[in-house]
Amino acid sequence: MNLRSKKQFIFSQKILIRSLVFIISITLLNLFSGPVRNFFYLSSSPIANVFMGTGESLNYFFGNILLSKKIRKKSDELERQNKEIMYEMSILKDKIKEFNDTSIAVENSEDLNFSLMLVKINGINLENDTIGINKGQEDGVLEGMLLISKEMSVYGRVTKVFKNFSSVLLLSAKESTVDVKVQPKNIEEKTIFGVLRGKGRQSVYLDLVDAELNLNQDDLIVTSGLEGFFPPNLLIGKVISVDKSDLKPFQTAKVEHYFEIGNSDNLFLIENYKK
């Protein structure tokens, strides 16, 4: 074998060996995907927490440049109180409706039938509308658990559970669909049912609402509980604009959701919800 062909042989051997190494590595990574991701989370979370704290502070700092500190504080407080009131009103409206229909006894607020698990966000991926939380299999997290804020606004659902952390699919993800209802301002009006779908990049919209029903701007959207997976009357958002056409059997609406990635310190997973 002359020198040139020997060099070519060695070169092709190198390429073959390196290709095999890459293929084997990728296969092993896919086979042990859970432990690999868990290890990445454990090694990166101390630094990620520092960056997230910095991110929240900077976000707040730049927000304060536009609004004065006092107004910002007051605005945050009012917004929190507003959401608490909206949640209570949403429950009250249903209660009044049931009482008027005289079909079943009024439920009290202790009868919500679920407990809450405190979690924190440890990673945000806006490309596929997912967030990571700091609890996993070891803490009793299960797929399908709902993530909410302390004001009872829905963030999303747990889709993947690893040993020490879990991945939550936000309501704005394209694969996300949730059965919802629209609380009309006038309790005499009929409750409107629909489906909330994600559009990606933190936007959502309301779909499959009967075209003959009246959707209005600022109508409150809450979970309907019809699926049975999670409780009714949890806050989703409000209607911004309605898209109605005589040619279509359903109307849709743009929705401003209530989950805020930048302002989410403590969140909760709903455990053992009983319908």
Binding site: I26, N30, G123, N125, L126, S167, K174, S203
Partner: protein
């Protein structure tokens, strides 16, 4: 330089944490700068000859970090990044760009083209193979592009100042 490979892993590790813990607080229309792609593109743009081993290693490590954070299969981003590398080399060869074409305008134009191509390829992969790669493609990608261009421009100058100049000075000494 034996520590080149661990250094690449370390830099990309910190870039990943930075991208997924700090930058989401400054997202625009749901887009954040893709630091991993920017770093990878800077390397393939500036490295003209013979450093294919480093580039392939870098593509591999970048892809692991990209796939870890998107909860998709490992290896998808590796294939996409290798495609981008191959296409960029083919483009450079056909346009016959040499040392004299390392200007910011040329770099940003090529970066924009390959950024859109990167999203397009990712979108087609998820469309044809029917699994979520985390890629989407719409006119909003242009907003993401504008945001990424700012960081790419900063990266261009940093790379040129710190790494590229050092390499060309070493060549002059030889």
């Amino acid at each position: 330089m034996w520590f080149k490979y661990p250094l690449i892993v370390l830099i990309l590790f910190f870039a990943t944490i930075f991208q997924f813990s700090l930058l989401p607080y400054f997202s625009i229309a749901g887009y954040t700068p893709n630091l991993l792609f920017i770093i990878f593109f800077l390397v393939i743009f500036f490295e003209n000859k013979g450093k294919y081993e480093t580039i392939i290693f870098m593509a591999f490590v970048c892809s692991i970090f990209l796939d870890i954070t998107t909860i998709s299969y490992f290896g998808i981003s590796f294939i996409i990044l290798l495609l981008i590398f191959g296409l960029e080399k083919a483009f450079s060869y056909l346009s016959k760009s040499g040392q004299e074409k390392i200007s910011i305008y040329y770099f940003l134009a090529i970066f924009s083209l390959f950024f859109i191509l990167y999203h397009l390829i990712g979108y087609f992969v998820s469309f044809f193979f029917k699994f979520d790669t985390g890629f989407s493609f719409s006119y909003m990608v242009l907003i993401g592009l504008l945001y990424n261009i700012i960081f790419a421009g900063i990266g261009f100058y940093l790379y040129k100042l710190v790494i590229y100049k050092k390499d060309t000075n070493q060549l002059k000494l030889l």
